[in-house]
């Protein structure tokens, strides 16, 4: 049985009803909200592990809600949207979502995505020595999920944290896109290059002194990504 608290934010009552019924039956605790504003209120007063967030809602809308949640929380977010254009996917991920599902979706698919999003990297023992890393004015503290660059501290979301610690555990080695996707999101993934692009960009904004000229998180074109650890 699954455990976790999920907040469904969608303006359509039937969708909320179906989600609540299905997710509750799978063992999740479910709360719901009709608008982004109401969802933000609930997130302030209650604790959740994951938000299912509709992109197209009256009021502040899904993207803005996502941004606002992200500005103060590292909670997992899956966006639900009608459009499946590349632009909308990237918009959603850029706003801070961890994943993206196109409406209408099949329930097993959504459940798999929820599991993948809530899924955490097994804490391998060799991560221990990486707990704290200080290089060139950048301080990465994996134990507290905090990054400090030039005195400015930011926290990593779960997926950002997983991606960074996976790369950090294999320094100076190019990791292929597929390996990264499957390690971080799960075995069903492998071709979603846009996920990596967006997440790497998000990480660069947090850990690189100059995100446009990455010093640590470098791209090996066509091959993958590499964490360059200056000795």
């Amino acid at each position: 049985m699954n455990t976790g608290r999920i907040l469904v934010i969608d303006d359509d009552p039937q969708i909320r009803r179906a989600m609540r019924t299905s997710l509750t039956a799978r063992g999740y605790e479910v709360g719901d909200a009709r608008t982004g504003e109401e969802g933000l209120d609930k997130l302030r007063s209650e604790t959740y592990d994951l938000v299912l967030l509709d992109m197209n809602m009256p009021g502040i809308g899904g993207i803005e809600t996502c941004r606002m949640i992200r500005s103060s929380s590292e909670i997992a977010i899956i966006m639900l949207t009608v459009s499946n254009t590349e632009k909308d996917k990237v918009d959603a991920l850029d706003a801070g979502a961890d994943d993206y599902v196109t409406k209408p979706f099949s329930m097993p698919e959504l459940l798999a995505r929820i599991r993948a999003t809530l899924r955490r990297l097994p804490q391998a023992p060799d991560y221990a020595h990486l707990k704290r890393l200080t290089r060139q004015g950048v301080e990465i503290d994996l134990s507290s999920r905090q990054v400090t660059v030039r005195g400015h501290t930011s926290r990593l979301t779960a997926k950002e944290f997983d991606l960074l610690s996976y790369l950090l555990a294999r320094p100076n080695k190019t990791i292929s896109h597929r390996e990264l996707l499957q390690a971080i999101w799960g075995p069903d993934y492998g071709d979603e290059l846009e996920y990596l692009r967006v997440f790497v960009n998000r990480l660069r904004k947090k850990i690189e002194p100059d995100p446009s000229e990455p010093r640590f998180l470098v791209t090996d074109t066509w091959a993958g990504y590499r964490f360059r650890l200056p000795q």
């Binding site: 359509d12 039937q14 969708i15 299905s22 459009s83 409406k103 097993p108």
Partner: protein, 503 residues
């Protein structure tokens, strides 16, 4: 006056009449001038006898007046006649043309020279004044034309207004304008225009100037930045060269201003209607897909239950609802795709892509919809990159695969291949279905067209139409090769992306 059109006659057939009128006027003025000389002679000889010097002065004053009032011809004739009268009536021996005193020879010559020179100067001054007035008139007219063009009503065809304004301002009897961009002809009146039309086209193409001194017709190109953008013909009033040039510049600027204004308007209208269409389509998609989402969530959740929990007939019934929801969802998606793509007014975001990655991305998209059918993609690794909108081309491949799945027996394989042909990469989807009769092959890409024997099959009838629109938007081609009973091969071409520099 540096007359551009020497004869100001209004028309070819009127010229003798005009000349006649002109010469009558001249004769009249000569008669008046001679009358004045005769009157002075009569008064000084008979009424108030005065000395020869005073008479000479009287004559000079009269000749100056004639030169100022009429012209050089009249004053020259008057000078000669006055000299003769002066000699005959006032210089001794009176009553003869002989001159006794050599001093009088000098006086007479001085008189003639003075009167001729004075006539000349006076006539020249008069001509200068007239020229200055003409120039001023032209300037005023050009100014009022430029003002009229600036204030032109943008809702009406500007070229027509230009023609009317020129005719009105410069009092031309005929004005015609040829707009090269639209190929249209605008003119004031229809008298004998066939000839002018040909000249207008010629002038616009060759950027030349045509002048007919006899009829007063001028046909000249309108240039903007050295390029002829049209031509203008005028008849009926003289116009100096500088004024003609200024007029042409004004017309060129007027035309260009409207053209750019029209282009901006058209783009704005297109943009707004695109925006509206896009918003509407998004709203429709949302309205349809929202209820479908809850239906799909319910049916798929139920179908995912372990088989023991559902009676077989219950599972069958839920499957029917589930498939119905899928079909409706697909219909909405494709109708919206088609509406967006149709008319070709959409932005392609082209980038270099490997054909292999386009095909595998399309296959991935369709993953759940292939019913476990065997689809083999055999694309070589060394195919060059193509310049294409990845998302749209994946859609094309997905539609072709979907089509192959629908129209071939469930056990038969589907193959995807690609090859290079000249500057293109050809991507083909091959099935082993029933094939398509030759007479149907051309219609198969039409919207809502389905093979005559295929009415029972599921499908929206939009997939191939969408595929064709997308490929056309890329400036490429899509086609089918098929023989009944031997399967079909759907192919499309994509341009090879130019190699980036530095290699």
């Amino acid at each position: 006056m540096a007359s551009l059109v020497s004869s100001a006659g209004p028309g070819t057939h009127l010229i003798p009449k005009g000349l006649f009128r002109k010469s009558t006027h001249l004769i009249g003025r000569v008669v008046v001038a001679l009358g004045l000389i005769a009157a002075i002679t009569l008064i000084c000889f008979r009424v108030i006898p005065v000395n020869a010097t005073t008479v000479g002065f009287f004559y000079l004053v009269a000749i100056l007046s004639i030169a100022t009032a009429s012209g050089l011809v009249e004053s020259t004739i008057a000078s000669v006649v006055a000299m003769l009268c002066f000699n005959y009536f006032f210089l001794p021996p009176i009553g003869t043309f002989t001159i006794a005193d050599p001093q009088n020879w000098v006086a007479l010559s001085a008189f003639l020279a003075t009167s001729l020179a004075a006539s000349q100067l006076s006539a020249r001054a008069k001509r200068r004044t007239k020229e200055a007035i003409d120039r001023q008139n032209e300037m005023e007219r050009l100014y009022s034309l430029s003002r009229a063009l600036l204030l032109a009503d943008t809702t009406r065809p500007i070229a027509r207004q230009i023609v009317q304004q020129i005719a009105q301002t410069f009092e031309f009897s005929t004005v015609a304008l040829y707009d090269r961009t639209t190929g249209e002809m605008y003119r004031t009146e229809v008298d004998d225009m066939s000839d002018i039309e040909a000249k207008l086209r010629d002038a616009a193409v060759r950027s030349s100037v045509y002048r007919d001194e006899e009829s007063g017709l001028v046909v000249t190109a309108i240039r903007l930045g050295g390029e002829p953008i049209g031509s203008l013909a005028m008849k009926g009033a003289p116009l100096s060269d500088p004024a003609l040039q200024s007029l042409l510049n004004l017309v060129a600027i007027g035309l260009e201003r409207t053209l750019s204004q029209e282009a901006v308007n058209r783009a704005e209208v297109a943009r707004r209607s695109e925006e509206l269409k896009s918003t509407l389509l998004d709203a429709i998609a949302h309205e349809f897909k929202t209820p479908l989402t809850s239906i799909k969530a319910v049916t798929t959740d139920l179908l995912s239950a372990p088989s023991a929990e559902l009676q077989p007939h219950q599972r069958e019934l839920i499957s029917i609802a589930d498939e119905g929801a899928d079909r409706l969802s697909k219909l909405v998606t494709e109708a919206i795709q088609l509406a967006r793509i149709e008319g070709g007014k959409f932005q392609l975001s082209r980038a270099p892509h490997f054909p292999r990655s386009l095909v595998s991305a399309a296959l991935r998209q369709m993953n759940s919809l292939t019913d476990g059918r065997k689809i083999s993609a055999s694309l070589q690794d060394d195919l060059p990159q193509v310049s294409a909108d990845a998302e749209l081309i994946q859609m094309v491949i997905a539609h072709l695969i979907d089509n192959a799945l629908k129209y071939s027996p469930s056990g038969s394989p589907i193959e995807i291949g690609a090859c290079v042909r000249e500057q293109d990469v050809i991507i083909c989807v091959v099935d082993q279905g029933k094939g398509i009769a030759e007479d149907e092959q051309s219609r198969i890409f039409d919207k809502f067209y389905r093979g005559s024997k295929e009415q029972a099959l599921k499908g929206t009838g939009m997939g191939l139409a969408i595929a064709r629109e997308i490929i056309r938007a890329h400036g490429e081609d899509i086609w089918v090769k098929s023989k009944p009973g031997k399967g079909s091969e759907f192919c499309f071409s994509l341009p090879i992306a130019p190699r980036s520099g530095g290699e």
